[in-house]
Symmetry: C2
Amino acid sequence: MLPCRRAHALPAVLALALVALPPLLPRALAQSGSDITIPLPETQGQTLLLQSNDRADYGPLAEQFLTQANLAYCGVASMVMVLNSLAVPAPAAAGYGSYRFWTQENVFEPAATRAVLSPEVVARQGMTLQELRGLLASHGVQARAIHGDRLSLAQFRLLLRSNLSQASDRLLVNYDRKALGQAGGGHISPVAAYHAASDRVLILDVARYRYPSVWVPLTDLWQAIRTTDSSTGLSRGVVVVRQI
Amino acid sequence: MLPCRRAHALPAVLALALVALPPLLPRALAQSGSDITIPLPETQGQTLLLQSNDRADYGPLAEQFLTQANLAYCGVASMVMVLNSLAVPAPAAAGYGSYRFWTQENVFEPAATRAVLSPEVVARQGMTLQELRGLLASHGVQARAIHGDRLSLAQFRLLLRSNLSQASDRLLVNYDRKALGQAGGGHISPVAAYHAASDRVLILDVARYRYPSVWVPLTDLWQAIRTTDSSTGLSRGVVVVRQI
């Protein structure tokens, strides 16, 4: 299955070795990955949401929740959720009369946006952290990318809490699913809330056909944004967005 | 602008009269419609959600929140949200490899569904309460339609609270927006929560380009489902859905 960000292919001999290897971890430990995430739609996930004190972005983002339009469009769906949730003035949407809102199609209408990256290229290979930043900036919002390896755990926690406690800005994460115990590779989604007592972050996962939205330990998400995007050799990270 | 359910056209002379008439209501009263609804994404709307004790459907439905695919597809988007949120086994979705989930396209794949109503007809004129029920039933779920004029206010409240306090069933409302102080006519959306202290109901409005999700007084929603659908001469109402 195509990951949202296509990584370089695994050398065949290594891939074969991975398949052939017996499991190295005891069963309980090997399964611990599934315990890393707490699905939002389930009772425990809803309880964390109710208890969260840093959830100013949740309401506006949940109202704009989207499924990525194809297997490589995680960044596009995330961008559209952010633009709609910040009420950034939108063009008309085809088929909706005079109603104006951002879609995964019309977000590429401005020439300045297509100059950063064309929809065809994104559909083929996804986007990098800096491309995500550039695409957002092309719509006139302030977008700042921070690579994961430039953030200490404490800085990441501070950045998240500050962002999620006010409704005027958004935070997107570009991370490796494997660090969260999920199958897959590079991915992009918005975060919507932070739960202090459990030190967990809520990701509204735009690949809704694959995983539900999940609460993940902040330390795991921090590890997940510090992974290297093999297409750039740089670490993944976060993009902070606000209206200018 | 095309309403979700196209009503019979207003006679030209009456339409002209409406345009020509001066406003009959004092300004404050005329604007009261805008006070009926409390937007979910805003602080007050989130507070009602936090306080609600009948919100078992909110988590699963919010995770599947959709924008109707065209101006007449309110019933289709609502149906897809319900099927996905109840985890009704879905076909593969075009363009998503082997991932299986309900979309506003593949929900019409079964011949039994198209026998109820074709997507072309829905795109042209929306659907009635009984058609919504029939489309849902064609997917093997238990779907029961109740016309609004068959429900007392107390019965409606009881039905809503009972449905929204357990996660195993869903409730869709077919209502007239005007009774909620909104512009437009017939519409369909799922309800997700009930707030007892204010006697309000949360509608996750699938016409996201038009109105946000809103908390509305239960009495207003009751009036709104008792309005007559001019295409059938019957009142609008609710559809209750559960897995068999």
